[in-house]
């Protein structure tokens, strides 16, 4: 059964999803009527709840991929399809020490915390205080609601990476910054040899510039990638891709530090 402060995702018959944080006495109203949190609190994951208008909704605990798409955002987030690749191609292993800048809305930070597991550490810099506060609450809400999962230790810092860093000997550095070439000194300082440096960039001139600057230094360029996800749908005898898709989010650059 669900507990207070748990997060649930409700799915209606048209596959629309709604994220709720459960509160005793709480209520959720939508075009399909009203749902009382107290009713959900008596249910189990995978059960169905009926709205006041008789709409049936499935109740699940949200994954991080589902959760982050529902966050209040002050910036563009990195999409789940791209976070997946950052974690696997970037080898964010269980037990790793990971440095991130900037924190943004905390979407990637949360995914990193899950990937590094119990013994891992994620240090994240964000220079804009209001972003850091929002990210913190996003992350804490998910952590509190998911006691069955292990997460690494989180260190959020209200700092500007351009002004210097105190971290060193880290396994991975991930930058979601518009001008990463300005902080290559810091990246070299933070990373251990062989460590991964990942940069997420939306436009091609940024990619060009970063590769030019990084090759003057102790970095091996492992690859420049873009990722596309295409969803399919099946209705009766019709199986086909969906009509529209995301055409672009950004480019992932992966470097390794050399000695």
């Amino acid at each position: 059964m669900f507990k207070e402060n748990e997060l649930v995702i409700l799915i209606d018959p048209k596959n629309r999803t709604y994220l709720l944080k459960l509160k005793k006495g709480g209520r959720f109203s939508f075009h399909g009527g009203t749902i009382f949190h107290d009713e959900i609190l008596k249910k189990k994951e995978g059960e169905i709840i009926q709205s006041s208008k008789g709409i049936e909704l499935l109740i699940f605990r949200p994954t991080i991929a589902e959760y982050i798409l529902k966050l209040k955002r002050k910036t563009t987030i990195i999409y789940p399809k791209d976070i997946a690749q950052i974690i696997f191609l970037g080898d964010i292993f269980s037990g790793a020490k990971v440095f991130e800048a900037g924190t943004g809305s905390g979407a990637l930070t949360l995914a990193l915390l899950q990937a590094v597991g119990k013994r891992g550490v994620v240090v994240s810099y964000e220079k804009r205080k209001e972003f850091l506060e929002l990210a913190k609450s996003h992350i804490e809400n998910y952590l509190k609601a998911n006691k069955q999962k292990d997460f690494g230790k989180l260190v959020l810092k209200n700092k500007d990476i351009e002004k210097g860093v105190e971290e060193k000997n880290f396994d991975r550095v991930i930058l979601d910054l518009p001008e990463p070439w300005k902080v290559l000194d810091q990246v070299e300082k933070i990373l251990k040899p062989g460590g991964f440096f990942l940069s997420w960039l939306p436009t091609v001139l940024q990619v060009f510039k970063l590769v030019e600057e990084a090759k003057k230094r102790k970095f091996y360029l492992k690859g420049i990638y873009e990722f596309l996800e295409r969803k399919w749908k099946k209705e009766g005898k019709s199986l086909r891709p969906e009509d529209r898709m995301v055409a672009h989010t950004g480019f992932l650059l992966i470097f390794r530090k050399i000695l």
Copy 2:
């Protein structure tokens, strides 16, 4: 410094990669000459080694994504770009209990073991004994070489899932089988409510069949996906995608168990 039995990946100036398991007295010969393992054993990650013909190669520890592409394969493996999505969209969290069938070459199994971390468990069925043995040695080689990383508990079983299962209350089930619709009873038995069932299928008629069969049962279809990865290259002023790419590997189907 590297130790005996560690795995290293060597990268030549044309970005070709070579995987070695370090042995005292070992030697590696390729078109660029010979390299002596004892020389590598004196180096650190991120250093350069010279072959007998003067070719310079970078030395790194391989990620799982790099390692599995070098494995001896008896079957097609699931590609890194797809493993990444299985782990993140399938919410293979730190601490999870994951069931897999079949083990195949062990590529996905190894990635799951890293994702579930210290407290997690991966049970994997494989009916062909010689595949299981090979997968086991692939996995053990990587685990022994990566003591700094945490991995879950591995249980390999030389069993055919079609003949029944003893597992239950698992968080996730992942099938890389040609006829997954034949084992939906078993999947329902293994999974806890709300748990994820992922199926990896290369052709569209398989996708059609599985969706048809699963909807007769207690499964919610979260989505059918295909993923594309496009690499880019930069040479001087030229920045452009590579000429060729992988056009297709398979389709990922994600279901959640309902009550």
Copy 3:
């Protein structure tokens, strides 16, 4: 200068486009104000016109690709990116005799008429009378407005291809029908040996069925294709793909008739 009954496309500063058929005394009102046709009639192609609210719009003659996207549609049309491939991969040459079914909104028909040129012929079957009427008026509007271009001879027939055909010795047959396997007899009758048979199908089970049926007959399968178009945008220093794209329209199958 433009003449009455010519078609023009107006492009506003945000790249929105508006299609007009010029009439003396006509007026066009949109969120940006009003534009009088008489003003446009005094302009030349490539000139700018100001709306009553001071919005500046470029005036051009529309291409077929632009025109068909503005048509009143009773069915989905085949997209420009796909029409382009039908014409070139399907070798719709200047002087060809082309058979089409069904006419639909006439979008493909019009493109075929342009491709076959002065000496070519396009015969198009459509069983639904109201579709045929609409297609006819779409095509005639474009032909009348584009006297500087050559078009083939058009023969529209209000007939159901399933009930038989009288055509034979044609160079190409193009079917935009949901069950093309039902009319393979007719296709064989219409086509000369070596001729192309193209079928446009939105879903994969249709593709499977047609290939299965066609291989029992005198058809060589040249290929099954899908086509993707990705647009890019440049704003200041930012050059990147647009955020969203069309993920799927349909599959093109190309066969050649063998003896």
Copy 4:
């Protein structure tokens, strides 16, 4: 029946294709044995011919798309999937006057000649004499072999567009040049108002540069495009995309001249 100097494409059971120019007494040898041209000259399109080793091959007349992939090339050609879009999105209509530079191997030139039809004209500049000669023979071979098709009038000039042009009042200009921004004066001179200017560019910095330079002049940027083609294959019950595809050829930029 085929005639001397006709082009044929032979297709073997594994879908490999061979282009021949028929000569009395000619012979073609390949891994599957020998085929005598005189035997083909007795056949009709769509018939089967047996090699000396008993391999059966289909005989067809090649389309331009098939023909150009078989040409001796001194440069990269523009691919059929891209030529298709140049012709349709670029509105290369029947009767059009088209200017091209440079001619290259003549692949695009030939496709343009077919698109403009009987009354159309294609003027093509190529500064390298040996390229021009090769292109000329490529084009003439196809024209002679395809009397049943209409082609426009071809004017090949051994000239460097950077040194000035005498053409004006053309409907379309298509540049396959590495630095098109150097000849924008010439493009403006050649094109009539409303006319299309298309540029084909392989790398992103070229795209950036051309858009920057063109917007300082009398050009409206209609769009920047890239096109992907994915082939599918069916074997028994298996229907799926092919394993690999072309990931990149180039970017198409389309402008229209404004007054």
